[in-house]
Amino acid sequence: MTSVASSGPAASEKALVWFPDTSALVSMAVHLPLHQTVQATLSAHRRVLVTAVVAELEELAKSSTPIAAWAGAALGQLDWLGEPVRLDDPAGTVLAAELQEQIAAGRPRKHALEHFGEAAIISLASRARTLRPLMLSDDYDARVAAKNRNVEPLSVHKLMHLMISQGKVTAAQAFSFADALNRAGRAQDYTADELASGRLSRVGQP
């Protein structure tokens, strides 16, 4: 197994590299067709899974939170992302610790590792200067932190919008995915029209 899963050619001058975070993997685990569609689309590019995301999923899976079952399911759906990458270099760990504090922003942690997955991704991705890193995240604060470190963030909903606009899914399919996320309490209700137009309020930002 290679360090960075790769099965597609470089799309542009800088190759896209997707870093899915804990929240996005949990969202994908809610609805298998959504997971399969995202996996099929992102598999055209390089993908990186960081150990901190796996650790966060493990922490969530053994918690008594409502998303424990989805976190457990997500742990069983990680093969397509390749072997997890550690973040243990001095500059990376220091930056990740700072970013974790920034994303948490004074809010009490729901579990010991909360936000360490996103922080590790941004720390690693923001220093991958020869690549074009994209973070898939359903955490608004993590997306803001990513954007400020030149890592392009997308929520699952924003990815759906992009997929509609590039003909990867129909608006009706995207609506069924969004509806599943809404029913699971993972997001507000969005219409097919909103998904197609990209008028997605907070999940479309930044």
């Binding site: 799309a11 055209a44 500059a91 990376g92 922003a105 220093r127 994209l134 392009e152």
Partner: protein, 420 residues
């Protein structure tokens, strides 16, 4: 968890010289700190390993710098060893974070836990906003500086008697009103006045009724926090009382106030209460209101008590305390008034207290203005996420909050150059 693939190398990206500088030395330093903290906790390598999900030989390698800590392992080590992730990484605590850490670590009565937790959160947010938005430190006004300087010069010695303590409190209150040009009438926004002039952040939060509040001051940082689960008049007295501790340069870094603390029979508390009384209810102002109410000199009626509470925005206990201090109500008459019960008096003279502000429990959530202003701007500009605002405002309705704070603000458009 696998230990195979690491960092930028795993992505095929070369590290910069800075990033690759002396990782072994760093790992050895991290390891030494882990070992020192483990020994302080009197844990064996095996015990620590069991607690963090690693083998004894892996702990040994970490402590000797032959295995680096993954970022996901940091919080477990920090929690088990009773230190911060910053300590393990060798990052110096910045001032606000250092105070927050001491608030977390310090022994505290059970009744003060929620106040300490909120204070710690506010110091962490202070640090975050300082780092991300280059927020300048809190500053005094020129008038406030003059008050602080005179307070240090005149009242550096702790008074020995109750009378002397009360005299000091009164003198500082009168000096403060004079320097700030506040006259002798009621103060409106006490928290705002304190923030405007005295380099102090002021927060109100519903913290229950076991504790009144606290004052944390250390170097240039100062925070006064009061529980808003009391009637507003009570809260205003607590704020003024804490301001006294700050202005008198109380040597304690954390001053915690349950009701028994505020009325403890000590010079420090007598002085702070006298300051609060004279700051909120100056004698000249009280006499002026009584004259307007047509009260006979040195005879304060029940109705006048209710009207004074309304006018100065204070509790009946604080008012009677002050009326006694300035010689307008005897101790026994004060006790009689208190025995009538504040609610029955207010009910009886409702027309004299139409707003009932002094007796209303507001459960107000007021973050320090300096932090709130910065956090809102940073959130709108997407330099920070929503959590910082939600933490400050103590809200958990993120969607609604986002709609409120982002209304009318430009938002980023989708980058269509991403080709899936």
């Amino acid at each position: 968890m696998t230990e195979g693939l690491t960092g930028l190398a795993a992505l095929g990206v070369p590290a910069t010289p800075l990033e690759s500088a002396e990782p072994e030395q760093h790992a050895a330093q991290v390891g030494a700190r882990v070992a020192a903290a483990r020994r302080r906790r009197r844990l064996s390598g095996t015990e620590l390993g069991e607690m963090v999900g690693l083998r004894k030989d892996q702990i040994s390698k970490i402590e000797s710098g032959r295995r680096r800590l993954d970022v996901a392992e940091l919080p477990h080590f920090a929690a088990v060893l009773g230190v911060t992730a910053r300590y393990i990484l060798g990052q110096a605590d910045r001032p606000a974070l250092a105070i927050a850490a001491r608030l977390a670590a310090g022994a505290s009565p059970q009744v003060m836990r929620s106040a300490r937790r909120r204070a710690r959160q506010l110091f962490e947010i202070d640090d975050l906003l300082t780092q991300v938005t280059a927020m300048p430190p809190v500053r005094s006004s020129a008038e406030g500086l003059r008050v602080a300087e005179q307070a240090r010069a005149k009242f550096g010695t702790l008074p020995r008697s109750k009378a002397a303590a009360q005299r000091q409190g009164r003198e500082l209150a009168e000096l403060t009103r004079r320097e700030l040009d506040l006259g002798s009438d009621a103060l409106g926004d006490v928290a705002g006045v304190m923030e405007q002039h005295f380099a102090v952040d002021v927060a109100l939060s519903p913290l229950g009724t076991d504790a009144d509040g606290l004052c944390v001051h250390s170097g240039p940082a100062a925070l006064i926090l009061a529980s808003s689960d009391f009637p507003d008049g009570h809260v205003r007295f607590t704020l003024a009382h804490e301001l006294a501790h700050h202005l008198f340069d109380d040597p304690r870094e954390v001053i915690e106030e349950a009701e028994r603390d505020m009325f403890a029979g000590t010079a420090v508390e007598w002085r702070a209460n006298a300051f609060a009384g004279h700051f909120l209810m100056p004698e000249r102002g009280v006499r002026s209101v009584l004259e307007w109410l047509g009260e006979a000199p040195n005879a304060v009626s029940e109705r006048a008590v209710v009207a004074l509470m309304e006018h100065f925005g204070v509790s009946m206990a604080a008012l009677i305390y002050q009326l006694n201090i300035i010689g307008m109500v005897s101790y026994s008459a004060g006790q009689q008034l208190r025995g009538r019960g504040v609610m029955s008096l207010v009910e009886l003279h409702r027309e004299a207290a139409p707003s009932g502000a002094a007796t209303t429990v507001g459960h107000v959530r007021r973050p320090p203005e300096r932090l709130a202003r910065r956090a809102l701007a940073a959130a709108r500009e997407q330099r920070l996420g929503l959590s910082v605002v939600a933490s400050l405002l103590e809200r958990d309705d993120d969607e609604q909050l986002w709609d409120e704070i982002m209304a009318g603000h430009a938002q980023a458009m989708l980058d269509t150059s991403i080709v899936l």
